[in-house]
C-alpha cells in the first residue's frame, strides 16, 4: 500500500512536471518570440559565418529595417527548421548556406533553439535516431529568445588565425559522410517551408580564405555543395549571383570567417544587391577574386 502510494505520488509529480514544463515553455516562448509585424523586419539564419560575418548595424541602416538574427556558432539543421517554422509569412530572410554545418558531426551541432515537435518529427523522418532526437529535445527544454538584434564581429588582426590548418580541412573535405546528404535534404525541407510562406529569401554562400578556397576545389565536399546549390537554384528558380571580394586586403579573421572589415564590405554590397532584387529569391556566392 505504501509502495503504491509512493509510486502514484511519483507518477503524479512527473505528469504535473511535464504539463508545467510544456505550459511554461510554450507561454514564455510565445512571449519572447512573437513578432507583430513582418514588413519592416529582416530575419537572418546561419552558423558562425553569419554570426561573425554580417554587420547588422550597416544592414539596419542601409535597408531601413529591423534586423533580427538567430545565427549562432555551430548552428545545426534543427535550428534551421525551427527558424523556417518561426519566421512569419511574407518575411524578408537571409539564409547563410551552412556548408560547414553539413559536414559537422551531428553530436556537436548546436541545436539549441526552441522546442518544436514538428521540427523534431522532420528530423526523425530524415533518419535522425531516437537518441539524437532525444538529445535535441533535452537541449531545448528551456525557453529562450529565438532572435537577437546583436552580433559580434571578429577584429581585424595583422596575422591570419590558421588554426585548424588548411591540411586538416582538406583532409576532412576529401570524403563526405552519409549524414551530409541527410542534412542537405533537411535544409531543402526548410527552404520548402520558407517558399510556401512566400518569404523573400537571400541565400549567402560565405567565403573561405583564398588559401582554403583554392585547396577545397577538388574535394568531394566542394562537388557535393556545388551540386546541391545548382539543384536548389534550378528547383526554386533562384537568381544566382557572385560577389567577388578583393584579396589585397585582409578581410578574413581565420580560414572560414570574415573579420570586421570583411563583414562591413559584405553588408554594404549585400544592401545594393538586395535593393535591386526584383524576384525575391537570390543566391549570392561570395568568393575571393583569383585574378588579382
Amino acid at each position: 500500500m505504501k509502495l503504491r502510494r509512493f509510486l502514484s505520488k511519483i507518477i503524479l509529480f512527473l505528469i504535473g512536471l511535464i504539463i508545467i514544463l510544456f505550459l511554461l515553455n510554450y507561454s514564455i516562448n510565445k512571449f519572447l518570440n512573437t513578432t507583430k509585424s513582418t514588413s519592416g523586419v529582416l530575419y537572418i539564419w546561419g552558423d558562425s559565418q553569419a554570426y561573425q560575418g554580417l554587420n547588422l548595424t550597416i544592414l539596419r541602416q542601409g535597408l531601413n529595417k529591423i534586423v533580427k538574427t538567430s545565427a549562432e556558432h555551430g548552428a545545426g539543421i534543427y535550428n534551421f527548421i525551427v527558424f523556417a517554422n518561426q519566421v512569419p509569412p511574407n518575411s524578408n530572410v537571409i539564409i547563410a548556406y551552412p556548408r560547414l554545418s553539413f559536414i559537422r558531426r551531428k553530436s556537436v551541432d548546436n541545436n539549441k533553439s526552441i522546442l518544436s515537435i514538428s521540427a523534431l518529427k522532420l528530423l526523425y523522418q530524415h533518419n535522425y535516431s531516437l537518441k539524437e532526437v532525444k538529445n535535441i529535445t533535452l537541449m531545448n527544454l528551456r525557453p529562450r529568445p529565438f532572435y537577437s538584434e546583436k552580433t559580434m564581429l571578429y577584429p581585424q588582426k595583422d596575422t591570419l588565425n590558421v588554426s585548424p590548418p588548411v591540411k586538416r580541412y582538406v583532409k576532412r573535405f576529401q570524403k563526405v559522410p552519409n549524414y551530409f546528404y541527410k542534412k542537405q535534404a533537411l535544409f531543402n525541407e526548410g527552404i520548402k517551408i520558407l517558399i510556401k510562406k512566400n518569404c523573400k529569401i537571400t541565400f549567402i554562400d560565405f567565403p573561405f580564405h583564398q588559401r582554403l578556397q583554392h585547396a577545397e576545389k577538388m574535394t568531394e565536399f566542394s562537388r557535393a555543395n556545388e551540386k546541391f546549390t545548382m539543384k536548389t537554384i534550378s528547383k526554386y528558380s533562384i537568381d544566382l549571383d557572385t560577389l567577388y571580394l578583393p584579396i589585397k586586403d585582409h578581410l578574413m579573421y581565420d580560414l572560414t570567417h570574415l573579420n570586421e572589415t570583411g563583414a562591413n564590405i559584405l553588408a554594404n554590397d549585400l544592401i545594393k544587391m538586395m535593393k535591386n532584387d526584383k524576384i525575391g529569391r537570390k543566391w549570392i556566392v561570395i568568393r575571393f577574386s583569383e585574378s588579382k
Binding site: K2, L3, F6, L21
Partner: protein
C-alpha cells in the same frame, strides 16, 4: 553511467520496481538483484574491470574468514597483510605505477629509455580508490574483532559492489553497512520520500551549481595569464564551489538512492565551508575518507597519544597519503602537505587557548571572520588540487596575488557569471538554513502547506532542467 544521465534515469526505476515487486520475497533475492544490478552499473563503464571488484570481493571474503578462524595472532596477521597487500597492490598498480616511473625519469633522465619501454598503458578503473578502501576496512575490522566475518557471500558481495556508493563513496564501514545486507528490507515510505528529496538536492548541486562553476573554473585555470588577479581569485572560488557541490552532490544522490532501497549510508559532508577552523573543516569534508585515515592510519601510528614530534609526523603522513589517494600527481601531494601545515597550529595549546579565550572570536562577527579565514586557506590549497602541475599552481598563485588582486573582477560584467553567482548565493543561503541537518533541504518545507512544498520541489526540478551547466564528469570519478 553518470547519476545525472538518461541511462541512470532508466536504470534506477527498473531496479527499484524489480527490487520491491519481484525480488522482495527474501534477503537472498534482494541481495541477488543488488549484485546483478551493481555489476551491470559498474560494467556499463568498462566491463573488463569487473574482474578487479570480483577479485577483491572473493579474496577479502575468504581472508576475513581465515583471520577469524586462525588461532594464533601471527597467522591472523599474515592473512591481514595478504588482504592489505592485495588491495593496496591493485590500487598502486593501476593508480601509481606510471606516476612512479615518470617520477624516476624526472630524477634520472638517463633511465627514460628503459623505463618508458616498461611503462604500462594503464587505464584507471573507476572507483578503485573507494572500493579497495571499503574492503580493506572490512578485513582490518575483522582482525580487530570489531565485526565477525560474514559467511553470507552474497551479502558480502552486495556490500562491496552496492551501486549507489561503488564508484565515488561514501566509503562505508562494514560495521555500519554490512549488517544492513543481512536483514530483509521492507519498504519505508518516509525513508523513500526523504531519499528522493536528497537525490533532488544532489542533482541541483551537481547540475546547476557545480557544472556551471566548472565552465569558469576551467577557463581561468587553463589561461591564467589572460586574467587579472581578482579574476583568478574568482576562478578558484568557482572551483571551490564546483568541487564541493560536485562531490557532495554525488554523495547526496548516492545516499538518497540507497534510501530508496532501504539502506542508510553515512553522511559524507557536513557543510564544511562553514567551518571555523582547519580541524573542523576536516571533520566535515569527505568524512568517510578522513575517518578512514584516522581509524586505520593515524590512530595505529599512535594518533595524538605520542610525543609532539610523532604527532606532527603522523599528521604529515596522513595528509600526504590522503593527497596521494586523490591522484597520481605531485599537485595532490602538495595539497596534502599544505593541509598538514594548516593543521599544525591546532596542536599548540597556546594557539587553542587564544582562540577559545578570545572574546572577539566568540561574537558573530568573530565567527564569520574565522569561517572566512578558514575558507580562504582552503581556497589556496584548492589551487594545487586543480592545477595541472606544481609550476602552474605557483604561476596561478603568483598571478593571483598581483597588484590587481583587489580590483573588481572584469568577469562580473558578464551576465552568465552573475547568473552563476546568483545561484551560488541562493545555494549558500539554503545550505546555511539547513546546516544542522544531514543535508540542506532535509526538513526545509516540511512544515509548509502542501501547495508551497510542491511549488518548491517543482522549482528545483525546473532549475535543474533549465539552468544546468554543460555536463561534466563527477570530479571524484577520476580518483
Amino acid at each position: 553511467m553518470l547519476f545525472n544521465s538518461f541511462e541512470f534515469a532508466v536504470f534506477l526505476p527498473i531496479v527499484f520496481l524489480l527490487y520491491w515487486y519481484v525480488f522482495n520475497s527474501s534477503i537472498t533475492s534482494q541481495n541477488f538483484l543488488l549484485v546483478i544490478s551493481s555489476y551491470f552499473f559498474y560494467g556499463w563503464w568498462d566491463w573488463k574491470f569487473l574482474f578487479l571488484i570480483i577479485l577483491s570481493t572473493v579474496s577479502d571474503y575468504l581472508l576475513a574468514l581465515q583471520i577469524n578462524n586462525s588461532s594464533s595472532k601471527t597467522s591472523k596477521k599474515i592473512f591481514l597483510y595478504l588482504s592489505v597487500g592485495l588491495n593496496l597492490g591493485i590500487l598502486i598498480t593501476f593508480k601509481y605505477f606510471n606516476f612512479f616511473l615518470n617520477s624516476i625519469i624526472t630524477i634520472k633522465p638517463g633511465l627514460s629509455e628503459i623505463i618508458s619501454f616498461n611503462a604500462l598503458n594503464i587505464i584507471l578503473p573507476v572507483g578503485i580508490s573507494f572500493y579497495t578502501f571499503q574492503t580493506l576496512s572490512y578485513t582490518i575490522d575483522v582482525y580487530r574483532n570489531k565485526i565477525k566475518p560474514t559467511k553470507n557471500f552474497l551479502a558480502f558481495t552486495a556490500f562491496v559492489s552496492f551501486f549507489p556508493q561503488l564508484v565515488a563513496g561514501p566509503i562505508e564501514r562494514a560495521t555500519h553497512l554490512l549488517p544492513q545486507f543481512t536483514v530483509k528490507r521492507n519498504f519505508n515510505y518516509e525513508k523513500a520520500i526523504d531519499g528522493l528529496r536528497q537525490i533532488l538536492w544532489g542533482l541541483f548541486k551537481k547540475m546547476v551549481i557545480a557544472d556551471n562553476c566548472a565552465y569558469y573554473a576551467n577557463l581561468l585555470f587553463e589561461n591564467p595569464d589572460h586574467y587579472s588577479g581578482s579574476n583568478l581569485l574568482l576562478g578558484v572560488f568557482f572551483f571551490s564551489i564546483q568541487i564541493y557541490c560536485d562531490f557532495s552532490g554525488y554523495s547526496d544522490i548516492a545516499i538518497g538512492t540507497a534510501r530508496l532501497f532501504g539502506f542508510d549510508l553515512m553522511q559524507n559532508f557536513a557543510f564544511p565551508y562553514f567551518s571555523k577552523s582547519i580541524p573542523e573543516f576536516w571533520r566535515r569534508w569527505h568524512i568517510s575518507l578522513s575517518t578512514w585515515f584516522r581509524d586505520y592510519l593515524y590512530i595505529p601510528l599512535g594518533g595524538s597519544k605520542v610525543s609532539k614530534i610523532k604527532i606532527v609526523r603522523n599528521i604529515f603522513i596522513v595528509f600526504t597519503l590522503s593527497g596521494m589517494w586523490h591522484g597520481a600527481n605531485w599537485t595532490f601531494i602538495c595539497w596534502g602537505i599544505l593541509n598538514a601545515i594548516y593543521f599544525l597550529p591546532s596542536l599548540s595549546k597556546k594557539f587553542n587557548n587564544f582562540f577559545h579565550g578570545s572574546i572577539f572570536l566568540r561574537t558573530n562577527i568573530g565567527k564569520a571572520f574565522m569561517s572566512l579565514s578558514t575558507f580562504f586557506l582552503i581556497l589556496i590549497s584548492w589551487i594545487f588540487f586543480r592545477a595541472e602541475n606544481i609550476s602552474r599552481a605557483f604561476q596561478y598563485i603568483h598571478k593571483m596575488f598581483s597588484e590587481e588582486f583587489f580590483s573588481l573582477p572584469s568577469m562580473l560584467y558578464e551576465l552568465n557569471v552573475l547568473k552563476v553567482l546568483f545561484f551560488i548565493s541562493l545555494f549558500l543561503i539554503i545550505e546555511w538554513i539547513g546546516r544542522k541537518k544531514l543535508y540542506a533541504i532535509e526538513t526545509l518545507g516540511k512544515s509548509w502547506k502542501k501547495t508551497y512544498r510542491i511549488i518548491f520541489y517543482y522549482s528545483i526540478v525546473i532549475a535543474i532542467i533549465w539552468f544546468q551547466g554543460k555536463q561534466q564528469h563527477f570530479i571524484y570519478f577520476q580518483f
